[in-house]
């Protein structure tokens, strides 16, 4: 896992002398929603947003396992917890400025967090509402009722204090999200802020056509002296949005003209390109791989027959053919089979187990036997919902499953759903199908955000946006989660999460299938291109073209 083959490109790279040139980014995402720090939902500040927004903390910009560490950004440290990690205090570094030269204050950060509560700016991660005192009822600063969230205090311009409803040892990780970026109240244009936010990062927006391109230029008020995490090598970054992924891969492999300076921040190699790359040593040199801790799995609705019966769930676990699934994803370079819910790439919180050994290609005999035991000697017919917009996990994986399950007497009726449809159908308990092919990734590299939404019974939301698809609610497990959340020591906490995962695995609440690997090409002039372990993607702030 982690960065593997970046050595060749970093040969001549020197952080001290990397500045200059124009980096091109070829992305398939359209980013038509723009860049409002309140609305963005990123992991560790995302790829492009991290160039525009500095947050209280951020991810450490290094290759390897250390890349999963959280480090101070605007703040002087990753936060001082008190009272069982329910109060977190941060002090700002001095000399911080926006791209327009005005100083960044603690009040701006408070305002940034507050505005993310406005219904108009919905879309960000849900943790703040849940964690902050009074968060559940707060409506943001725009008119109506209280306009100020009392649980965030700014005793002086460089100090900010957060009061949480419960213990959250992971708060420093959350503080890396863009909601913790400063927003000057005077410049806030509400919904329209997304097109031209005030930058606090090393670059600011020179031109932005939604859905098409974003041009970034240096922010002259930013300096490496207050920012140890961003190298900001290129003078300009030109980002093309909304390209077809096939075209991106063709351009990167051709690497002609300007494309020699190009990378992509969201398009992994597809199977055919990978097949081509494997046969071409010159191309192979320009490939980096990484993994975002994310598990693809089958989710059962325990409230629906026949999955209320653990034997049936075990039968499915045995019947799975992970080789076919991996091939459907594009082979071993793009996917790795996983028998655990917490994937191997979430190293700190991972513990190996395989309670229902299906072998490489499934064990239909055992599955049949279990089904018979469960009272289904003639097999079962169940629907399988999947997301059609997800090109990889959609149809190919679903058909692979269908084939493998057929051998065990399990007939899958495929139920393809478009993205929007999938999200509202699957994540609303009332409409949720009995069996769903889905995936789950951590918002930060910790077992907490990985396991809590899936297995914490108090996270079952009926209105929609529910991720506890099993609708599993065990008070003992809930209590255990609360206990781990109080631990502020990262390593200690992760060990506990891993143990919890291993314990839950026995219940066959899900069938873990595989984790995806990211394999990307970069242009021939690009240097210091590696995929970090937090997100499994580039940190653009450290890529250079010189």
């Amino acid at each position: 896992a982690g960065s593997s083959s970046s050595a060749s490109s970093s040969d001549a790279f020197s952080a001290a002398n990397c500045q200059g040139g124009t980096l091109r980014v070829l992305d398939s995402a359209k980013n038509t929603k723009g860049f409002d720090p309140a609305v963005l939902y990123t992991s560790g500040g995302g790829a492009i947003p991290r160039l525009l927004f500095r947050t209280l903390t951020t991810r450490q910009s290094v290759a390897g396992t250390n890349g999963t560490k959280v480090v101070p950004d605007l703040a002087t440290d990753t936060g001082t917890p008190s009272q069982n990690a329910t109060v977190w205090t941060y002090h700002l570094k001095s000399g911080l400025k926006y791209a327009d030269g005005t100083p960044i204050t603690a009040a701006d950060i408070k305002y940034g967090v507050e505005r993310s509560f406005s219904p108009q700016l919905a879309g960000g991660p849900p943790y703040l509402r849940d964690w902050l005192v009074g968060g559940a009822d707060y409506q943001g600063p725009y008119g109506g009722g209280t306009t100020d969230l009392a649980s965030i205090a700014t005793p002086d311009p460089s100090t900010i204090v957060f009061h949480l409803r419960k213990s959250e040892g992971d708060f420093p990780y959350l503080a890396a999200e863009t909601q913790f970026a400063p927003v000057p109240k005077a410049k806030d244009t509400g919904k329209e802020y997304n097109a031209d936010p005030v930058s606090s990062g090393p670059y600011s927006i020179a031109g932005f056509t939604k859905g098409k391109e974003l041009d970034l230029v240096r922010n002259s008020y930013w300096s490496r002296s207050t920012d140890q995490q961003r190298l900001a090598c290129p003078d300009r970054i030109d980002i093309s949005l909304g390209l077809s992924s096939a075209v991106i891969n063709q351009r990167l492999s051709a690497s002609v003209g300007q494309d020699a300076n190009a990378i992509t921040t969201d398009t992994s190699l597809d199977a055919p390109t990978l097949a081509r790359v494997s046969a071409d040593p010159a191309l192979k040199k320009r490939v980096v791989t990484g993994k975002f801790p994310q598990i693809f799995y089958l989710a059962f609705d325990l409230k629906k027959a026949p999955f209320d019966n653990q034997l049936v769930r075990e039968a499915l676990s045995y019947a799975v053919d992970r080789t076919a699934l991996v091939n459907a994803e594009g082979g071993t370079q793009l996917a790795v089979p996983s028998t655990t819910f917490t994937p191997e790439s979430l190293t700190a919180a991972h513990q190996d187990y395989d309670y229902f050994p299906a072998g490489a290609t499934g064990n239909p005999t055992k599955a049949k036997q279990l089904l018979a035991q469960a009272g289904h000697p003639n097999g079962i017919t169940v629907p399988l919902a999947y997301d059609t917009d997800d090109v990889n996990t959609g149809a190919p994986a679903a058909t692979a499953l269908q084939q493998a399950f057929a051998k065990a007497g399990i007939t899958l009726q495929l139920q393809p759903l478009s993205d929007a449809d999938f999200n509202s159908t699957v994540n609303t308990p009332a409409t949720q199908p009995a069996l769903t092919l889905t995936s789950w990734g951590a918002d930060w590299p910790s077992g907490g955000p990985f396991l809590t939404p899936i297995f914490d019974g108090r996270q079952i939301v009926t209105g929609g946006g529910n991720f506890n698809l099993a609708q599993y609610n065990d008070p003992a497990v809930n209590a255990q989660i609360d206990k781990i959340n109080q631990i502020t020591d990262y390593t200690a906490a992760q060990q506990q999460w891993a143990a919890l995962d291993a314990q839950l695995g026995k219940l066959a609440l899900t069938v873990p299938l595989y984790e995806e690997a990211t394999s990307v090409l970069y242009g021939s002039h690009v240097k210091n291109a590696y995929l970090d372990q937090w997100r499994g993607w580039y940190d653009i702030a450290s890529v250079s073209v010189k």
Binding site: A246, T273, R276, E329, T399, Q402, P416
Partner: protein
């Protein structure tokens, strides 16, 4: 002038006919289906289309002949380390897999191709037929409605409905419709209906425009005087004149419908996996063209043959319905000889 000319006295009309010796109907160019068949190109096209339909009908037997089925995965035939591409040359062509296997799944391409014929031909032909029927009906009705007796309103209404159907952004509406209609509705039928609903308008417009030209001909006036209803006039007098433009347009539309199905299948909106269709095969295979050309060529060539066959059929139909068109193939050889003879003379 004599007061009374008996009709049989001079009888020049009958006398004219040295032609009376010729067999009846010999100079009558075969129209309609027979006319298509009578021409070499038409026959080739008809045979090809017939074969394609036969392939669709006998898909299970053909696959059984090969010993494969369209849905089974064959992991052992793939190289997992190189993106799941097939082992062996030419996309894994072997005695077991006549056209090789699909990358990343190892499904048999021949079986998928013959089964795919069912969906592709079914949807494309069904949709085209629907478009034709609806387009002809509306186009004729609008084209024949005249200024009298509120006819202008009929025309205006139908034309606006046609405009509306044209104005529906096709692709966009397909997406919505496919999402809105319940999952239980058979997909190929739904695809056919959607393509029909969104594709009849161009035909209606062409038909209306042509009809307005044709209805000014005096033979239409003559038919009006026989007391024929509009429907009969449309069928007997106008329709034959529409064959040329409509057949030509239809020949274009059939492949378009096939490709439209491909586009929708590509977005996961067409037929549901694991069902195969040619369009879906082509769209998933294109990115493989540098690595596994066989995979691309199989559906591409099939589609091409299909398109050429339908175009040939359309052309043959157009020619067959043109009374002044050259004589069918079986007499052609004779004519060529004559031409050669003429040349000789000229020298």
């Amino acid at each position: 002038m004599s007061g009374h000319v008996t009709l049989t006295s001079t009888e020049p009309g009958a006398a004219v006919e040295s032609a009376a010796a010729l067999p009846t109907g010999a100079q009558r160019p075969a129209g309609g289906a027979a006319g298509v068949w009578a021409r070499r190109g038409g026959r080739a096209a008809a045979v090809t289309v017939g074969l394609l339909v036969l392939v669709a009908l006998t898909a299970p037997w053909l696959a059984a002949l090969e010993g494969q089925d369209p849905n089974s995965f064959h992991d052992t035939l793939l190289n997992s380390a190189t993106g799941g591409s097939p082992n062996g040359t030419f996309g894994g062509i072997s005695a077991q897999h006549w056209l090789g296997v699909e990358p990343t799944t190892g499904r048999d391409l021949f079986a998928r191709l013959v089964y795919g014929a069912r969906v592709s031909l079914g949807v494309a032909l069904g949709a085209t037929l629907g478009q034709l029927l609806l387009g002809l009906l509306v186009g004729l009705a609008a084209g024949l409605a005249d200024g009298r007796r509120g006819g202008r309103w009929v025309d205006a209404l139908l034309s606006r409905v046609t405009d509306l159907a044209l104005a529906l952004p096709t692709f966009f509406f397909s997406i919505a419709l496919l999402a809105v209609v319940p999952q239980s509705f058979p997909r190929p039928l739904l695809l056919g209906l959607i393509l029909t609903g969104l594709g009849w308008a161009p035909i209606a417009r062409i038909v209306r425009a042509e009809t307005r030209v044709l209805r000014e001909r005096e033979y239409v006036a003559a038919a009006v005087l026989t007391g024929a209803g509009s429907w009969r006039i449309a069928r007997r007098e106008i329709l034959p004149g529409l064959v040329a433009p409509v057949a030509t347009y239809t020949a274009i539309v059939i492949p378009q419908n096939m490709v439209a199905e491909a586009g929708l299948s590509f977005l996961g909106l067409g037929v549901r996996p694991p069902t195969s269709s040619w369009g879906q095969m082509l769209s998933t295979s294109t990115t493989w063209f540098q690595v596994d050309p066989t995979y691309v060529l199989v559906p591409a060539l099939t589609l091409l043959v299909c398109v050429l066959a339908f175009a040939g059929l359309g052309e043959a139909l157009r020619v067959a319905f043109d009374p002044k068109s050259p004589v069918p193939a079986h007499t052609r050889r004779g004519r060529r000889k004559q031409a050669a003879g003429k040349k000789g003379e000229a020298r």
